[in-house]
Structure formats: C-alpha cells, structure tokens
C-alpha cells in the first residue's frame, strides 16, 4: 500500500481519509459506506450507513430499526467531504453494490462480493472503469467455473420432483440472505408447496417489498405439528442441517447449494444427499474478465485465494497486491454469521409467521 492511497486498511476497516468514512468496516465507525448487508461487510452499530437504494430494506432487516441509513440509487454520485461517491450493481445479492470513489482524478472501486452471471433477484453486475480495483477472491482458483444457473435449477427441480415421487420432503440449504431467495426464484412451484425457515422468510418479505418476484412460500414453523411433509420443498440456512427442527420433515432428502460443491470431497464430507454448484460469488473466468474490464492498473485482492490471485495477476503483468481484511467468503464463516442471524430470527418468529405470497 502507498502513503497517498485513497483507502487504507485500519483496525476498523478500509478508511478513506479524504472523505472521512470507512468502506465495509468490521468495527462500528461514525460513517460507513457498505457494499451489501452480509454480516462480514455490514457491521452493527455504525453512526450512519450509506448503501444502495435497492438494498435498503435488507440492510434495515440486518442493522435494525434504529440504524440511520442513507440510500443512494445506483449510478448517482454523492459528494462526501470532497470525495465523489457512487454505487454500482455488484450482482451478488439484492442491493449489493460496488463502491466507486473519485478524488483528485483518481478512481477506486471496491467491489465487495460480486458475481457476473445475472439472476432474477438483483440488478446484474456492471463493470466500472477505475484505476484501482479492490476484488474478492473467494473462488480464486481455475477449478471454479460455474455451470449455467439454468442447468443447476433444472437439476434442483429434478431432484425435488424425484423426492416428491418417492414420498420425501426436500430440504434445500443456502444462506438466508441472497442464496435462499435466488434458489426460490429458480424453483418450479408446480412441483409442490414451498416452505421456508424463519430466517429466510423474514428476508423474503424484504425481497418481495423490493419488487423481486418469488414463488409463494409459507413459513415452515407455522405448519409444524402433525403435518405430512412429503413432496414439500423447505428452504433453510445451512446451520439448520441436522437440527431437531430439520428432522421433523423426515423422510427427507437434504441438498445444499454452494460454490464449494464443485469439489467431490467437499460434497461427500458435508454428508448431504446432494450438492448443487451455485454461488453468488464470481468464478475464476468471471474474476479475470471483470478485472480486465475495469481497466484498472492496480488490483487489490481480498478475502479468499488472495495469494493465488495476486501471483497469477502479477505473472500477467498486472500490479496486484494482497489487501488484508476480515471479509469472509461463502462457507463456514458465512454459516456462522447466518447462525447468529438465525437465532435472532427465531427470537422474532411470531413476527414472521403465516403465509406470504
């Protein structure tokens, strides 16, 4: 890192001295600019949050009613102490944004978490030209190359149908914010009824209010007792796996949707019936393509296979550096954050009860 960098890593996160704000801080700060509402990017207790208009509702669900949130439409700039700040779609979850900072002719883009393939639950990723590009590297290995989303949804629906025909319920695991809604958007509701875990249902509401079309879902807790679950689809966070809650759906087949399911050993160790390769993060070709389309002369690499991506870019003549952050990719860390969010959601279960459509 250089002395006159627009953003510098500090204890609390990436700090922009010129504008006196942090981007995706991991400790409470007076002014936070957040890329998206996942727990490792939006932390509790900041004085003010600046986030995308599209993501306001989900950010509110996560940060609480009291949080002060300034919402900015994609693409419209805001002057923050002389730094021109604008947000651009990252295609990761509803409202996820890349933060573009412009100051004295220099342009930095912090992409947060992002994904290139468009999906039905959020505005698609748009590359933004910049001098310095901050990128994640969760799946920064060439083995990660996503199959088309349509093919994965076909697989999921075929699995659901086969379970239904075998008199079983289908429990599909994906993290509560983003992945769950994306999964719902790809389910074929003609196969059977769809139920959700409380943590998922709560966010479904925020998605629907934000104008995202999701198939009708019912809160699974509300219909718990003495019900036959054969043929039903239940969408829940990974932390629900193996809990007494999940066992009530038996006989059931359990599947998980995650980029990590690319690897056979990981699929097998998760000891689930099925692993579907579906990620809300960028894959290897997407990562390289995005970097190229930013035109950045310098790339800062965060969470994931940081060292691998840095070395690969350098070998291709791109100035790349590792940037130490506390962001986390898809996986166990995400599960942990989800587990916390889930407990919180369970505490408010009554609140989320009943059928929504």
């Amino acid at each position: 890192m250089n002395a006159d960098d627009l953003l510098k890593p500090t204890d609390a996160g990436l700090y922009c001295e010129a504008g006196d704000f942090h981007v995706d801080p991991w400790k409470p700060v007076p002014q936070a600019v957040v890329t998206h509402a996942h727990a490792d990017h939006a932390c509790w207790g900041c004085g003010r949050y600046l986030g995308s208009e599209e993501g306001e509702r989900v950010l509110r669900v996560r940060m609480g009613r009291e949080a002060v949130i300034d919402a900015l439409p994609y693409g419209s700039p805001l002057d923050v102490n002389g730094v021109r700040v604008s947000l651009h779609p990252a295609g990761h979850i509803l409202g996820s944004a890349q933060v573009r900072l412009e100051h004295r002719g220099r342009v930095w883009v912090v992409s947060g978490d992002y994904k290139v393939e468009p999906d039905a639950t959020c505005t698609p990723f748009e590359p933004v030209r910049c001098d310095v590009f901050v990128t994640e590297s969760t799946f920064g290995l060439p083995i990660y190359r996503w199959p088309s989303q349509a093919a994965v949804f076909d697989e999921i629906n075929a699995w659901w149908r086969a379970n239904r025909d075998a008199g079983k319920a289908s429990l599909l695991l994906g993290y509560a914010l983003g992945k769950s809604q994306r999964l719902l958007s790809g389910l074929d509701p003609s196969i059977g009824p769809i139920y959700t875990h409380g943590a998922v249902e709560k966010l479904n509401r925020a998605y629907r209010e934000g104008g995202v079309a999701l198939p009708p879902t019912s809160y699974a807790g509300a219909a718990m007792k003495g019900k036959g679950w054969a043929g039903a689809m239940i969408v829940a966070p990974p932390s629900a796996h193996g809990t007494p809650w999940a066992r009530k759906f038996a006989p059931l087949s359990t599947g998980i949707a995650s980029g990590w399911m690319t690897i056979r050993g990981t699929r097998r160790r998760k000891a689930l019936d099925r692993g579907f390769v579906l990620s809300d993060h960028v894959d290897w070709p997407g990562l390289l393509g995005s970097i190229e389309s930013t035109g950045a002369s310098r790339v800062l690499v965060t969470h994931g296979y940081t060292a691998v991506v840095v070395r690969y870019l350098r070998e291709r003549g791109i100035a790349a550096e590792a940037l130490a952050t506390r962001y986390e990719g898809e996986g166990d860390a995400q599960d942990r954050a989800e587990a916390e969010a889930m407990e919180e959601a369970e505490a408010q279960e009554v609140d989320a009860g009943g059928t929504t459509a």
């Binding site: 083995i143 056979r264 990981t266 019936d273 070395r311 070998e315």
Partner: protein, 530 residues
C-alpha cells in the same frame, strides 16, 4: 462410457446403500456384457497397472488448460485428487462420448501401456477432447488406477445377483479368485448352473461381529465353542487339481509369500479348503503382529526374514473336503473333520488346529478371556454349535469378543502439526469411523503410539493428500486405517459421534485394511456400558 460415468455420479451422489444397489442394478441390467465385465472389475477395486504416470497426466492437463504448474498444484491442494483436479481444470468441453466403456478400456486405455510418451500424450488429449466433464473424471480415474467410488464388493454382488437373478452368495464365490473381465466372464458370473471350472477359487470368508454388551445375552455357554482370536492374516489354503493356493482375506493370492505354508499343500488331499490364520510363530509361541508386518507386502522372502519371522497356519475350519463344499454342515462336524485332517498331515510346526477354550459358565469364559493378551491373542471367537459357514458378515452365529482395552479400527481423516520438536510434522490425528449412513464421523483424536519412521510416513501422506484447511487442521483423504485403543467409553451429546472415549492411543497402523473396512459407529456403540 456415458452410462458408466452416470453410474459413477449416481453412486457418488448418495450415501444410501439401497440407492447404490438400485443404481448398480439398473446399470448391470442394461449394460452390454463387455461393459458390465469392466464395470465389475473396476467397481470391486481391481485395476490395471497404472499406464500413464500421474506426473505426466498433470503436466499435459496443465498445458491443455493453460495453467502454470504452481497453479495446478494450488488447485490440486484444494481438490486432493489428480483425476478430479484435471477434470475441473481442462477447458470446457463441447463433446461427450458414446463409445462403450469396453471400447475405451480395451482399445484406448490398455494399448497406452508401453507406448511412447508422445503417443500417450496424443491419446490423452484425444480422449479429453471427446469427453464431457464427468466422463473425463471417470477416464482419469481409470487411467490413474485409483478408481474408487465407495461401494463395497458386497453391494456390487447384491446388484449383480438382482440383475442376473442369481443368488448373491453364488455371485460372491464366482467373483473370487482370478478372472479376466470378458463378456464370457459375465456370462459365467450370472449363469444359472453352478458348475465351476476355476479350481483356484476360494470361498467368501465368514466374518464375525463384535460382542455387544454382556455375552450372557447369547444364551447358554454350552451352545458355543470358543477359540482364541488370533492377530494374523486370515487366509484360505486350497489344494485342487494338484495345485496349492493360499488366499488372503483381501483376496490376494499370497502362495509365494509364505512358502512354509505353501509346502503344506502337497500333504493335503485333493479337493481341500482350509480356513485359517497365518500367524508369525517362533519356538512354540506367536510373535506380535508387527513382526508379521515385515512380511506383508513382500513378494519375495529372503532367508533372514524366513528365519526371523517364520509363520504357521492356525486352522479354524474345513470348507471343502474331497472336493465337496462342507459349508452347510454343522460347525462341530466340520471341526471334527478338520481335526482329523490336521492329525493326518502331522506337521505340528506348520499346521496347527485352532485350540478351543473350554469354560462351564460365562464368568469362567470371561476369566479365560483375560488371559488372551498373555499369548498374543486379541480375545475370543465365539462360534455357535451347529452353525453353518456363512458368506460374509452375518449377525448371530460368530462373534468376536476382544479383550480390553477396547480397540477400534478407524480412518485417519484429519491431521494437525505437533508441538515442540515435532512442530514441523503432522502428528496430531483425528480418526473417524463409519456411521449408520456409511459416512465417516470423527470419533477420537490421538497423538501417540507410532514410531518415528511411521510418523514420517504419515506426515508425507498428509502433505500429499490434504483436502481442506480449517485453521491449523488439514483434512486428508480417508485412506489410512489405524487400530486405536482406549480405556473408557461413554455417551456424549457434545461429540458428533455421540460417543466420548478415554485415553485413545494408536496401537498400530493397519496397512492391511482398506478404509471401507474400518469399524462402524454401530459396533462402537455396542461397547457402551448398558
């Protein structure tokens, strides 16, 4: 190849035995005999010698994928398997092959052996370009000789029986011994009549479960014959057509490795099959298993080792006499004939009738069992009077009743670096056993019990077979099996296995056991105090 790759994926996708058998049965029902023969061959773990070195496969795949060597290595570290890494790295494919499995194996794979490097490279690239990702993976597995998909021979046998309408025990018997994967073989395997021409073929071994809880639950002690449970290599010595065959339980023909026992063959009457245990034995006493390990795996044995670790065959059972299958006869009848045979052969330094342990109550039997360790035995074998010789593991007639400490064969699934002078080595291990769904569940951690040389070998294995990193912990391919001992056992909801053990330690490395044969959670639960 398409159907076989689908079968592989189907088997890989499920942990349920029923679904695996179903997928296998469907495959065998529709596969052409030539394909079915090769499928059986690979599925039960036979393999042609590696035809292309995996170093070369890596190199060519990396070049084809446009990935530098170091990045291939990083990818491999994440995946833990060369065949899979290659399949994931190769450029996306537009093709998928219709050619049958047998065609790929016989006309593409086998001719690669001994071909020059350039020809091999062309053939590999050709194959990859013709295949989709699942096919490439299976092809790489076949090529590298590391084909394994987590189905036991028993499941394959069941599926073959179903598909062919043949009794699975007959299939099991026909699958033993030497055979070539040809359409004729599949014909013989699934043939209705049981006329058998292969005279080397052993019988499937009858195996025992561990006694769970109080043996008194087995009924009157008088209904049982007790023998020492020996810690050697379970084997069958066969004499037919003037030839002698010594088979290990792993279905390996080991006649040449134990010449002392092979020479017994000439003294046996035509049409004999003895079930027994190869035991290292010197000056009238058994040696520790570690001594026998010096001979396992050696194809040729020198004078020194023959003098230092001579072996005997402890005869347990007589399966065939005068060419007649005795397995359905009552245990005592078989044993009486066996005793007669051993006496007639009269080679007390080579062939020993398994001694029985007599006790008039379970208490007395338990007391006798305590003495087991003192003569290098692991405990008692209990065999029900009147019982037949079963195929495989059947609950009810044969039980092993091991002495304390409790011992378990578990699979190494994770490792961590040690501390102090061992900080650079992976010395802290996590061991797992099979749960009710045939998944490996962590069961104990152990740090001690291996020699420095063994630690170095395990360390090298861990480095080469890492799968995932969780902080300092490295998960590894579940391949190595160790016998663990522990003192106490209790239920524990805090542990994933539901069980906590006291003072677990490594007794020995079970080089002779594949991971599939490690113990089950079920059998460990049986050790819980009532």
């Amino acid at each position: 190849m398409r159907d076989f790759a689908r079968l592989y994926a189907a088997l890989d996708e499920t942990t349920r035995t029923g679904e695996k058998v179903e997928a296998l049965t469907r495959y065998f029902e529709q596969a052409p005999p030539a394909d079915a023969a090769w499928a059986v061959y690979f599925l039960i773990g036979r393999k042609p010698k590696q035809v292309v070195p995996s170093k070369k496969i890596r190199e060519w795949a990396a070049a084809e994928a446009g990935v530098p060597d170091w990045l291939f290595q990083e990818s491999y570290d994440a995946v833990g398997d060369v065949a899979e890494t290659v399949a994931l790295l190769l450029p996306p494919s537009e093709h998928s092959t219709d050619l049958p499995l047998a065609e790929w194996v016989e006309n593409r794979l086998l001719p690669l052996r001994g071909a020059d490097e350039e020809a091999q490279r062309f053939a590999m690239l050709d194959a990859w370009r013709a295949m989709d990702r699942p096919q490439r993976f299976v092809w790489n597995k076949l090529i590298s000789g590391g084909f394994r998909v987590g189905v036991s021979q028993q499941l394959v046998t069941r599926a073959l029986g179903k598909a062919g309408g043949v009794d699975p025990t007959v299939v099991a018997h026909r699958l033993m011994g030497d055979w070539e994967p040809t359409p004729e073989f599949i014909g013989r395997l699934l043939a209705a009549d049981s006329a058998d021409s292969d005279h080397s073929r052993p019988y499937p071994f009858c195996l025992a479960y561990g006694v769970e809880g109080d043996p008194a639950a087995l009924g009157s002690v008088d209904d049982w014959v007790a023998e020492w449970k020996w810690d050697g290599i379970r084997s069958q010595l066969i004499r037919r057509g003037g030839d002698t065959f010594l088979w290990s339980r792993g279905e390996e023909l080991v006649t040449d490795r134990y010449p002392e026992i092979a020479t017994l063959g000439a003294s046996l009457p035509e049409g004999t099959a003895i079930d027994g245990e190869i035991l290292p034995y010197l000056d009238g006493t058994p040696l520790p298993f570690a001594q026998l390990q010096r001979r396992i795996g050696r194809k040729t044995v020198g004078k020194t080792i023959l003098a230092e670790v001579p072996v005997v065959l402890i005869a347990y059972d007589l399966l065939e006499s005068d060419g007649r299958d005795l397995r359905a006869e009552p245990f005592e009848a078989r044993r009486a004939r066996l005793a007669e045979l051993v006496a007639r052969v009269d080679r007390p330094g080579r062939l020993i009738l398994s001694p029985t342990v007599v006790a008039d109550s379970w208490e007395a039997m338990a007391a006798a069992r305590l003495a087991a360790r003192s003569h290098q035995s692991e405990g008692l074998m209990l065999k029900r009077r009147g019982s037949p010789y079963h195929v495989g593991r059947k609950r009810g007639d044969w039980w092993k009743w091991k002495v304390d400490p409790f011992t378990v064969d578990a699979v190494l699934t994770a490792a961590q670096r040690g501390s102090g002078k061992r900080a650079s080595l992976y010395t802290d291990y996590t061991f797992s056993v099979w749960d009710d769904d045939r998944r490996l569940v962590p069961f104990a951690k152990a740090y001690s019990g291996l020699t420095d040389a063994e630690i170095a070998r395990v360390d090298a294995f861990v480095r080469r077979n890492m799968v995932e990193k969780f902080g300092p912990v490295r998960t590894v391919k579940p391949e190595l099996v160790f016998e663990l001992a522990f003192e106490g056992i209790q239920r524990s909801p805090r542990h994933k296995s539901g069980i906590a053990v006291r003072f677990p330690r490594i007794l020995r490395w079970r080089l002779d056991k594949p991971a599939e044969e490690a113990d089950t959670l079920e059998s460990i639960r049986g050790m819980l105090p009532a």
